[in-house]
Structure formats: structure tokens, C-alpha cells
């Protein structure tokens, strides 16, 4: 994690392009690109990830300047990030190929301006943006969503057929944009973690961990070992639930009724176990700045017993599924995403790892208890829906392995403190209203490997209050890749591709 002193202000916004392209050419990836209101204008931040961790580059777009040279034409992974900057601040990245609204459901005035001190006024959708079957000379657009069949999150997929070219998919996320990042302003860290949990509700634990680590770094709070283990425990249960959710969706798409029911039941068992341990089926209310709020309600032996039973039932079904030829045939070569493109984009999580990227923050940039536990990284080179499933199946086995280790370690650490204050002293019985972080000041960048991939937080605090919290989910970074994975029939492949990406619209639209 980056210390505050390492932030560099590269100064001129024109240097941004060179910094980003130079970094990508050297084998790194663009992990985030976003803006923050600043006294001198707009602060544009690029997070550049490489083998040595994450380097933060800040540049200033001086006040009064309404545009800057876009990064997207030279680094395609900036495509959505620069649209977001345009949505949030009205600034124009010049030379951007398609500067349409992505997150803000409007094109007129009224800007969210995250990082600013005023609460943004209500922003209403522009009716001209609502779904329509656009038919023009040589253009045919079929909207799908935002209300789709089944129980799904709201997003609009537009299938565009320009002339003789093959169909192209366009996505609009603004329907369920909630303005989360602006909402952080003025919050106390102990309250704000609850907002982090609700940014991407199916990955609550990963978001809470990434957020809290940033706060702990800013305030110099050491997290007790026992708390780190409990965080890890919940993070891996969350991984099991999310990966099983993908399996359920794929099985359902393939019409395997019994498999759908079986894996739905397994997923339910995971959520129940999580609820038994902490009271919330989604592991919420556990992770808090400084540690965790409470000890598990189930003792380590009880957790181990539950895991044993779960793993026995689940692994038999997984074995059968991964031997069901008709199912595997349906996924093979569906939604192919080539490793070269994955590397260029810096694709995250199982999507990246299924396309040859051997990177998992749990191993390469360890946090919580991962540095002391044995973690394996699984990857494939095929890049299709099957490879994405295989990576998840490996990660399910890996999660059980980590869960067992964490539970074993917990039985050793059973009487240790659950949270610490800034001096490292146990503050059992202290309140969780944020008193312990009253004087905290500074900025830190932190991450966690969510089931969907790396979540990246950039948190700034002044006198114990949040001034800016950037929460970039893997869902946002990866969802844009759906643009380029349709090799065959869009309509029949769609459910498999969407499920195999395993992303959350909430996390992407925020």
C-alpha cells in the first residue's frame, strides 16, 4: 500500500498520457483513472499497477480549463474511466472516441463533482437517453433492458448493427447509478465502512476490507492477528458464495435443472454458514476500521465441521458438473477473450486469470492474513467461458483450503484482541462511532481481491472525516470487456457470457 509521501504530482496534465502509455508498454496496467475536485482545478489520478505494487500519479487540470488530451486513444483501458470523468466533472477528454453518458443519466447541467464540499443537487435523467429502437441509415439498435426478464440488476445492453458490420454491444450503466462516491463526503470512517459494504453488495467483505485498510494506514492503526483472520474467513466465504452464484447461472442457462437446484442449495448453505458466524448472510457489520466488531458466533471447531460437510457435498457435484460433456461443450469457445487483450487491458479477477494473467492480490500484494497462509493462483490461457468457470472451480477448492487454515489459526488465536486503536491497544468495549479516528489525516490507497477481482480504494481523510473515497470495483474495470467477446450469435451466447464474467452492476454503476 502506498504511503502518503510517495504521491507524486506530475504537474502538467499533458504528461498523463505519456506516463500511462509508458507504464503499459513496460508491462504494467492502468488500474484506475478518476477525478477529484481540487482547489487548483481538477485533480486527475491514475493508479498504475505493476509487479512492485501500485503507483499513484496525480496531475492537475488547472481551474478554467475544460479539456485535456484523452488517454483512451493511446490506452484503450481508459475508455470507460474517461467517460466517467466527463460524467462527474463535465471535463472533456479531447479525442475520446465515444463520449456518451455512462454513469450520469443526463447530458445537461448538474454535476456530481466528487471530492467537492457541497452536496450535489438532484440530477434527473434526460428523457432523450431512455431506451429506443434507434433506426437510422445503416444503423439498427436493439435495446435490451434496463428491465430484463428474470430477477436481474438493471443495466441496458444495446445491440447495434451498423450496416454490414457484425453486431456491436453497447452498455449503459446509468440507470442504477446511486452517487455513492459523493455520498462519502464528511462521513466518519466507522460509518463509511457501511457504505463501502453496500457499494457492491455481493462483495461487501472485500470492499469493507479495502476501505478499512486505507483508514488504518492513514491513522497508523495495527490490525490484530485475530481480526485479520476473521476478515480472511469472511472474505473466503464471500468468494465461495459468489463463485457458486456463477455456477448456478451457468447451469441454469444450459437448462440443467437438477444442477441448478443443487448448486443453489450449496450457495444457500454458504450464506447460512456466514449468517451463523456473524448474523448477516453477507458478512456485513463485521469489518470495521481497526479490526472486527465481534468474535465469530461459531467456534473454530464448529466452523471446521460445517466446512467439511459443505465441501464433501459440493465437491461431488462439481466433479459431476465438470464431467458433463454437453455443458462443457456449450461453454467451450464461447465468449473468447484473448490473453494479449487481457494483458493490455489489465483484466482483473477470474476474467483476467482465465486469459493468461497470473495475478491475484491475495498472493502478489497480500493483506489481511493472506501473507501468512498458503494461497495458490489458478489461471488458464483459453480465455473462454469454460476457462473462466475452471478458474472459479479451482478457486472454490482454494477457498476451502484457506478457510481451513484460517479456522485452524483462529483456534490458536482464540483469546486475542479483535480490534486496536492507533497505539495498538485493544479497544474492546470502545464505541464504533469513529471516536478512535477523530484526528486522522491523510490519504492512502488500498486493495482487496474480491471474488470479481481487485477492488481498489483511494481514501482521503481530514480531521477524521472522509473528504474523498474512490471505490473502483473489478466489475467496473471488467464489464467494458463484454464489448469485445461476442464471436458468435449474440443472443444465444449472451446468458453464458454474462454469467461467466460474474460481475455486479451495482459495483460498476455505484
Amino acid at each position: 500500500m502506498t504511503a502518503a509521501a510517495e504521491y507524486e504530482l506530475a504537474g502538467s496534465v499533458t504528461s498523463l498520457r505519456d506516463r500511462v502509455t509508458g507504464h503499459i508498454e513496460a508491462g504494467g496496467r492502468l488500474a484506475d483513472l478518476f477525478g477529484t475536485v481540487h482547489e487548483a482545478g481538477l485533480l486527475i489520478t491514475a493508479q498504475l499497477a505493476g509487479p512492485d505494487g501500485i503507483t499513484t500519479v496525480d496531475v492537475i487540470l488547472p481551474a478554467g480549463q475544460a479539456s485535456y488530451p484523452a488517454v483512451t486513444p493511446v490506452a484503450g483501458s481508459a475508455f470507460w474511466y474517461e467517460r466517467e470523468i466527463h460524467d462527474m466533472f463535465g471535463v472533456v477528454p479531447e479525442g475520446h472516441p465515444r463520449l456518451e453518458p455512462l454513469l450520469r443519466p443526463a447530458s445537461g447541467p448538474g454535476l456530481p463533482l466528487p471530492g467537492g464540499d457541497g452536496a450535489p443537487g438532484r440530477i434527473d435523467p434526460d428523457p432523450r437517453l431512455l431506451p429506443s429502437h434507434a433506426v437510422g441509415p445503416g444503423l439498427f439498435t436493439i435495446p435490451h433492458g434496463p428491465v430484463r426478464s428474470g430477477v436481474t440488476e438493471s443495466i441496458e445492453y444495446l445491440v447495434e448493427t451498423p450496416g454490414e458490420d457484425i453486431a456491436h454491444l453497447n452498455m449503459r450503466l446509468f440507470y442504477k447509478h446511486r452517487g455513492i462516491e459523493a455520498r462519502y463526503a464528511g462521513m466518519r470512517p466507522a460509518d463509511a465502512v457501511l457504505l463501502a459494504e453496500r457499494t457492491e453488495g455481493v462483495a461487501s467483505v472485500a470492499h469493507a476490507i479495502a476501505f478499512c485498510q486505507a483508514v488504518e494506514q492513514i491513522s497508523g492503526t495495527p490490525v490484530p492477528w485475530r481480526a485479520a483472520l476473521i476478515r480472511t474467513l469472511h472474505a473466503e466465504l464471500e468468494r465461495l458464495a459468489c463463485h457458486l452464484d456463477v455456477v448456478v447461472r451457468l447451469a441454469d442457462g444450459a437448462g440443467l435443472a437438477v444442477a441448478t437446484a443443487r448448486f443453489g442449495w450449496h450457495k444457500e448453505q454458504v450464506l447460512r454458514l456466514t449468517g451463523q458466524i456473524c448474523g448477516s448472510r453477507f458478512g456485513r457489520g463485521v469489518v470495521t476500521p481497526g479490526g472486527v466488531t465481534a468474535a465469530p458466533q461459531l467456534d473454530p471447531a464448529g466452523i471446521l465441521a460445517a466446512l467439511r460437510q459443505l465441501e464433501r457435498q459440493l465437491s461431488a457435484d462439481l466433479k459431476l458438473l465438470m464431467g458433463t460433456a454437453s455443458f462443457l461443450d456449450r461453454l467451450r469457445r464461447t465468449g473468447p477473450f484473448p490473453p494479449a487483450r487481457a494483458a493490455e487491458h489489465g483484466a482483473l479477477g477470474p476474467v483476467g486469470r482465465a486469459s493468461g494473467i497470473v495475478d491475484d492480490a491475495r498472493q502478489s500484494r497480500p493483506y489481511a492474513a493472506y501473507g501468512s497462509l498458503r494461497t495458490t493462483v489458478s489461471s488458464r490461457d483459453e480465455g473462454d467461458a469454460l476457462a473462466r468457470l475452471e478458474v472459479r472451480v479451482d478457486e472454490i477448492a482454494g477457498a476451502f483450503h484457506l478457510l481451513r487454515q484460517a479456522a485452524d489459526e483462529l483456534s490458536e488465536a482464540d483469546s486475542g484482541p479483535l480490534h486496536a486503536d492507533r497505539t495498538g491497544a485493544d479497544f474492546t468495549g470502545a464505541d464504533f462511532t469513529g471516536a478512535d479516528f477523530t484526528g486522522a489525516d491523510g490519504r492512502a490507497v488500498s486493495w482487496a481481491e474480491a471474488p470479481q477481482g481487485e477492488v481498489l480504494y483511494d481514501v482521503r481523510i481530514e480531521s477524521g472525516r472522509i473528504t474523498r473515497c474512490r471505490s473502483r470495483s473489478a466489475s467496473f474495470h471488467n464489464l467494458v470487456l463484454m464489448h469485445e467477446v461476442f464471436a458468435g450469435d449474440i443472443l444465444t451466447d449472451f446468458p453464458f457470457i454474462e454469467a461467466s464474467f460474474g460481475l455486479s452492476v451495482a459495483g460498476a454503476a455505484r
Partner: protein
């Protein structure tokens, strides 16, 4: 192979609500106020200002109240003031008026009984086979998981004659999740208007009921109540599948008086019923 697999491990579908279900009884609902109407709110930390979601209020008499429609179940009040707050439990939690989610209640129960009777009269035609449509109006994604869980073999709501439908024209009940994102106001309204009468709208989760921690925001309404006429209010962050099932039965006037069911005492007393004090379950 899969056919045989379906018979393994004795997956048991719950018999709830006809029979009690141990897990249903144990699921956690929003925070509640313990100790009747005269709980004193002295002591530390102060009760007012404790709740990050603004769900707790204290009136002039020192009576603490929880607006369960704003409660996001963070657990802070229960952990720090176990003398004043506890968890509600069991699959109830839904009410027929927004004000009915405030505990202890302020509203005259008489008017609630009238609301219940009016809804029952309207939904009489829907008692047998019911079709559900869901619309996400800015959820965090967890509510969708819990709604979808109703289709897994443990809950299997088909046994209750409930089915999901893609077409709003065949839908009787609209489940709405999320804090009411402005971008979804139009599509939500269109779905609602395409549904035939009689129809019932259920706000699923504290975000949908009161905006949760997401509100106030430039991009959301404080819940979906301003966007469509909500009849059943179900708090939770997210509500459990049992709570959602229970809200559906309440919407249809089919919630029987069964042990282990919080709302069994009747919608007018929904905030009452079984409570557990203190610790986490």
C-alpha cells in the same frame, strides 16, 4: 447422473409457513427497542446519534424509537446499548404502512387494520396462482440474490403457487429493490403501469423502503415510495428469503397465524412478536 444426484443429501424444502422452520425463526431482522414504552435513554454512549443510518430517534419523554425502514442492521445500537436495543427475529418484519415500521409504534392501530382489510379485499382475486415481477431501482445487488433464492429447492415458492414472470402484463405483484435511482424512475413506472389490476407493490429491503445509507444522494430518491405506490414495506439489508416470502404472503393476505412467525399476530401489530435480546445470532 444428475437425476440421481437430485435425491442425495436429503435436501429438505421448508414447510414454512404451514410448519415452523428453525432457520426462519433464527434469521435476523432490523433492530428493535426492548423493554416496553418506558425505556429510559440515559447511559452511555448516548442513544441519539448512535445510528449511522438515522434510524434511531428519542422523543421528549426519553422514549427511544427505531424506524426499521431505515435500519441497515449494522448492529451498532445492539452492541453498544444492549439495555435499550435488541434484534427482531423470525421471518416477519414487513408492514402495510410505512409508519408501521416505527417501533414502538406511534400510529393508531385502528387505521392499520383498515389498510389491511382494504388490501385483502383487493387481492382476493390473487389468492391461488400469483405471478411476480421484479425491478431493480438501484439495489446493491444482494437483494436480487435473496429474491432469487426463493427459487432454490430450500424455499421453492412454486409450492406456494408463486411464479416469476418476464412480462409485466402477466404480473400481479411487483417486487422493487434499491434506493430509487433516478435513472430507474421511468422504467419502473412503465413496468408498474403495464401490470393489470389488481396489483401489489412490495418494497424489498431498507434501501427500497427508506433509502438506507445511500440517501441522501443526488442520484436516488429516499426509497421507492415516491416512484410507485408501495403497499408492503419490508426492511432488511438485505431481507432474508424467509422475510421476502413472508412479505409476499402478507401482500396476498395469506400469512397464517403460525408459531415462529413474527407477523403472525396480524399486520397491525407487526412490530411486536418474538424478539431476541442482546447478542448476535
Amino acid at each position: 447422473m444428475w437425476v440421481l444426484r437430485g435425491l442425495r443429501d436429503g435436501v429438505l424444502t421448508t414447510k414454512w409457513p404451514a410448519r415452523p422452520d428453525e432457520y426462519a425463526a433464527s434469521t435476523r431482522g432490523p433492530a428493535t427497542v426492548l423493554g416496553g414504552p418506558d425505556v429510559l435513554t440515559s447511559g452511555q454512549p448516548a442513544v441519539a446519534g448512535l445510528c449511522p443510518a438515522g434510524a434511531i430517534s428519542v422523543d421528549q419523554r426519553g422514549q427511544a424509537r427505531v424506524d426499521q425502514g431505515r435500519c441497515i442492521l449494522c448492529g451498532r445500537c445492539v452492541q453498544l446499548r444492549p439495555d435499550v436495543f435488541g434484534w427482531s427475529s423470525g421471518p416477519g418484519g414487513a408492514t402495510l404502512t410505512r409508519a408501521g415500521l416505527v417501533v414502538p409504534p406511534e400510529e393508531n392501530p385502528q387505521s392499520l387494520a383498515a389498510v389491511a382489510a382494504a388490501l385483502r379485499a383487493r387481492t382476493r382475486a390473487l389468492r391461488r396462482s400469483v405471478h411476480l415481477r421484479h425491478v431493480d431501482a438501484g439495489s446493491d445487488g444482494s437483494e436480487e440474490w435473496e429474491i432469487l433464492a426463493l427459487l432454490n429447492p430450500v424455499y421453492d415458492i412454486h409450492r406456494l403457487g408463486m411464479f416469476f414472470t418476464a412480462s409485466p402484463r402477466h404480473a400481479d405483484v411487483l417486487l422493487v429493490t434499491g434506493a430509487g435511482a433516478h435513472g430507474m424512475a421511468g422504467p419502473l413506472r412503465e413496468t408498474y403501469e403495464a401490470m393489470p389490476d389488481p396489483k401489489v407493490v412490495v418494497a424489498v429491503g431498507s434501501d427500497a423502503v427508506g433509502g438506507g445509507l445511500i440517501s441522501p444522494s443526488y442520484a436516488t430518491s429516499g426509497g421507492v415510495g415516491d416512484l410507485v405506490p408501495v403497499e408492503v414495506w419490508l426492511p432488511g439489508s438485505p431481507p432474508s428469503p424467509f422475510a421476502i416470502m413472508s412479505a409476499l404472503l402478507l401482500a396476498l393476505g395469506r400469512l397464517p397465524a403460525a408459531p415462529g412467525s413474527q407477523a403472525a399476530a396480524g399486520p397491525s401489530q407487526a412490530p411486536a412478536g418474538k424478539r431476541t435480546a442482546g447478542g448476535r445470532r
